[in-house]
């Protein structure tokens, strides 16, 4: 054998060209094009990961939600924070506000079949069927018998969902739900094509088998790489859909995302289509590119009230009052977030007046609470106190924790230990009560105060995590669910908020914002208070 042809460098380049050509066969057609000024109404977007569950009843993450929300359509859809009719052309509510009767409009699935009331009933019951292990069935619990069926204590027949005929869907509720028409705009309430779902349980994992009823059809899906949404000409409101094609790349790295935007490879950056990294915020602000809007979400520090130290209300108040929220959002998070002096965000009607329930960075008051708390705990000075602050690994959470740690150490003289863990481990800790102070966030799926207050209605609620409960609070929340007068309902919820802020099992920190940048050719691309974008209403010049 002869090995004397080591002309590797030359071969390297030619071979690599050949290999790459082989390697690129399995992806979608090369749509390399100049990103500026093409006549076709195309929109280039990105999402941060492969959507794990592109199924309306299974999705729990905003990435999947962003795609599902544009491929499917519920009975209603949200426009400017208000529900308007979508797949339903009309609805009636009974006098006791318990029965909603929806009349569906003439509409087709992407495979040409008619959208029927049966599809809706099937999808909702599918989501409630415990065997399907939908991870977010509780949003359907507003419907009569839904919770019992989901917990295996009732049957599907007992659930208040009935397809009267092909175009009439009757829904009976557990109690009057003033935001029910907003719920029906949420993905768990979307229909699925019954025949498809029954024939192929994995219909939602490939573009070929994907059947949807919204303005866009999933035309192609190269896993972990790119998906393409195409406008459906048979969609009932197609004439009002401006964008014909949406290319959605999957890009994890925030730096890469920003470079792509700067390079005009994507037209929009920011939730739910990508993220804006902390370190580019300053630059985007100085270039006057950054758009900020309210998001119905909160960032808070939960106190474990079953912990020896944290069970002390005065200590909790001392900690909460001595957080400099204003300084935090100005210097650390920088996203023009609103310092939170209550639980329910400003984007919820009737909430979030500027007064709040306490004064931000009120060190004097905090010291008083601290002294009282130390006395109750039998401690001589703040230096005898060591508190652990837990958060899940991330640059932003670490920066916030360090800022707060510094404040508490400086203003209260308490020793603060930081403790971070990766996400899945962190959840285990928080849910298992293995923490003292822990960071969490909450964003509403329906823009109502109940979404923020309900989780604390009992210590057993899985989203409470603080071990705190209060009989009066629970009573008020329960009453609010049956109150048909909206002004009185609001009053009860405000009262409840006052109670939880009095006991302070959580320290609200800031209300979240939507941050995004949009290319000049795109119009009306503004996320709503829930951070969703309906591409149907977006235009491209």
């Amino acid at each position: 054998m002869k090995y004397n042809k080591v002309v590797l460098p030359a071969m390297a380049l030619s071979l690599s060209a050949f290999l790459a050509a082989c390697g690129s066969d399995d992806t979608t057609k090369d749509t390399d094009k100049n990103a500026s000024g093409d006549a076709a109404k195309e929109l280039n977007l990105l999402i941060t990961s492969e959507p794990p569950k592109l199924h309306p009843q299974l999705a729990t993450d905003s990435t999947s939600g962003a795609i599902i929300g544009n491929a499917f359509e519920g009975l209603t859809t949200m426009v400017n924070g208000e529900p308007i009719l979508a797949a339903a052309e009309d609805y009636k509510v009974s006098d006791d506000l318990l029965t909603y009767t929806f009349t569906l409009r003439d509409a087709e699935w992407s495979n040409g079949d008619k959208v029927t009331a049966e599809d809706f009933a099937f999808a909702w019951l599918w989501g409630l069927n415990p065997e399907n292990a939908s991870e977010y069935p509780s949003i359907l619990y507003a419907i009569k018998g839904a919770e019992k069926y989901n917990n295996g204590q009732g049957t599907a027949e007992e659930v208040g969902i009935k397809a009267i005929d092909e175009k009439t869907l009757e829904v009976t509720l557990e109690a009057p739900t003033p935001y029910f028409l907003e719920l029906t705009a949420f993905r768990t309430f979307f229909p699925i094509h019954k025949a498809t779902a029954e024939a192929n349980p994995n219909w939602f994992t490939e573009a070929d088998s994907y059947v949807s009823n919204g303005p866009y059809n999933l035309a192609s899906w190269a896993h972990s790489s790119e998906m393409v949404l195409e406008k459906r000409d048979t969609y009932w409101d197609a004439e009002n859909v401006d964008i014909e094609k949406v290319n959605v790349a999957m890009v994890e790295s925030e730096t890469t995302q920003m470079t792509m935007f700067d390079n005009n490879e994507v037209d929009f950056l920011g939730a739910p289509f990508g993220t804006i990294s902390l370190d580019s915020i300053d630059r985007l602000k100085s270039e006057d590119k950054l758009n900020v809007s309210d998001l119905s979400g909160i960032y808070w520090y939960k106190f474990n009230t079953e912990d020896d130290v944290m069970q002390n209300e005065n200590i909790r108040k001392a900690l909460s009052l001595s957080i400099d929220r204003e300084g935090l959002v100005k210097n650390i998070t920088k996203g023009e977030q609103e310092p939170a002096l209550g639980i329910v965000p400003n984007s919820v009607a009737g909430f979030g007046d500027d007064e709040g329930y306490f004064q931000d960075a009120n060190y004097e008051e905090a010291k008083k609470y601290l002294d009282a708390g130390l006395k109750e705990l039998g401690l001589a000075s703040a230096a005898d106190l060591e508190i652990k602050v837990s958060y899940n690994t991330s640059e932003a959470h670490a920066a916030i924790a360090q800022f707060i740690q510094q404040g508490w150490t400086k203003n209260l003289g308490i020793k603060i230990k930081l403790d971070n863990a990766e996400w899945q481990v962190y959840l285990d800790k928080i849910n298992g009560g293995d923490y003292q102070v822990g960071r969490m966030g909450w964003s509403a799926d329906y823009n109502d105060a109940y979404s923020f207050l309900e989780m604390y209605s009992s210590a057993e609620n899985g989203n409470n995590q603080t071990g705190w409960s209060n009989a009066e609070y629970t009573k008020l929340l329960k009453e609010s669910t049956t109150e048909t007068d909206s002004a009185k309902r609001l009053e009860k919820l405000l009262e409840a908020e006052a109670i939880i802020m009095e006991d302070m099992p959580v320290a609200p920190i800031y209300f979240q914002t939507n941050l995004n940048v949009v290319s000049d050719k795109v119009e009306n691309m503004v996320p709503d208070a829930k951070g969703t974008i309906n591409l149907k209403y977006v235009d491209v010049k």
């Binding site: 590797l8 460098p9 794990p52 972990s224 481990v425």
Partner: protein
């Protein structure tokens, strides 16, 4: 030779068993559940999910199932990507990593050997210093820094290549380079030192004395012997690059296997952890075996243990 290969295959089986067992128990010990999420999961649903994936069985039953699944190469459905099988994830993403990895490897070998040979031939002269500096830089600059720089200057500033994605040849060049440079540095250092060793040996001196040219001696005589340490490095390198680089795939949005390795662990996606671990181990073990076999081909003096004398 055959005896040697059979023996080595048995070792591979044993090693696989140990790897599989270790992975299983490490997964059992790691805190965190694949189904935990920001929103609380109703207990009934969690039970359903555990039952669906057999996580409600005692550990020894799970272990048995796990071994059986591995034997049959059926790793089940991903716990994160509902409805998608682990085998699908691997068969989809591996070709991408393979193509990118081979490209990177060829680049690394080409650049590395070239630098190493130039270094050795011009020992202690300017080209040697220049090549050594390049090699050292390649080794010491982390690939994600290099990737970022390549992306910024070549894509964004000069517009020569797309920033990220995987839609054709132009998309592969930057990630391949970013992966290759580190390895090229290593190969250059290995080649240089073993070439220098060869250059002092009698047969090279004789060849030079016969009046053969510098490059002729390199290609006809010394390079082949000098490449032996490089070949040693190629096995693990091959296994490493063709299974994808997590960081590079993340930065360039390449839909490869490297990402699944890492994210499956953070997601506690047990089925995918298992699938990718078994897959990667097999590739690594076989790569090492092939390298050992290649040894005897390159250098007839090396006798494989167990081969006929």
């Amino acid at each position: 030779m055959l005896k040697f290969i059979i023996k080595r295959l048995l070792y591979i089986v044993l090693a696989m068993y140990l790897i599989i067992t270790a992975t299983f128990f490490l997964m059992q010990l790691a805190p965190g559940s694949p189904f935990a999420s920001e929103r609380d999961l109703p207990p009934a649903i969690e039970e359903q999910l555990n039952a669906k994936y057999g996580l409600d069985n005692p550990w020894y039953i799970q272990y048995k199932d796990y071994l059986v699944d591995t034997m049959t190469f059926d790793f089940g459905e991903s716990m994160k990507y509902t409805g998608r099988s682990t085998n699908d994830l691997i068969t989809e993403s591996f070709p991408v990593s393979l193509a990118l990895g081979l490209q990177a490897m060829i680049l690394a070998i080409g650049i590395g050997i070239l630098l190493g040979v130039v270094s050795a031939l011009y020992h202690n002269k300017f080209p040697d210093y220049a090549a050594t500096i390049i090699a050292i830089l390649g080794i010491s600059v982390p690939s994600f820094i290099l990737a970022g720089l390549l992306q910024y200057y070549l894509s964004y500033k000069m517009g020569l290549f797309p920033v990220s994605g995987w839609k054709g040849f132009s998309y592969t060049i930057l990630p391949a380079f970013a992966i290759a440079i580190t390895h090229a540095g290593f190969i250059a250092k290995l080649t240089r030192s073993s070439m220098l060793e060869q250059n002092n040996s009698d047969y090279v001196k004789l060849a030079r004395a016969k009046g053969l040219g510098k490059w002729t001696v390199v290609f006809k005589h010394s390079l082949r012997n000098a490449l032996l340490p490089v070949v040693t490095y190629l096995g693990p390198l091959f296994a490493g690059v063709i299974t994808g680089s997590f960081v590079i795939e993340q930065i360039f949005a390449v839909p490869g296997l490297g990402r699944h390795f890492v994210t499956s662990i953070t997601n506690r996606d047990y089925t995918v952890i298992m699938g990718t671990t078994v897959f990667y181990s097999l590739i690594l073990l076989f790569a090492v075996l092939i390298v050992d076999i290649l040894y005897s081909v390159i250098d007839p003096r090396i006798k494989l243990k167990g081969a006929k004398k």
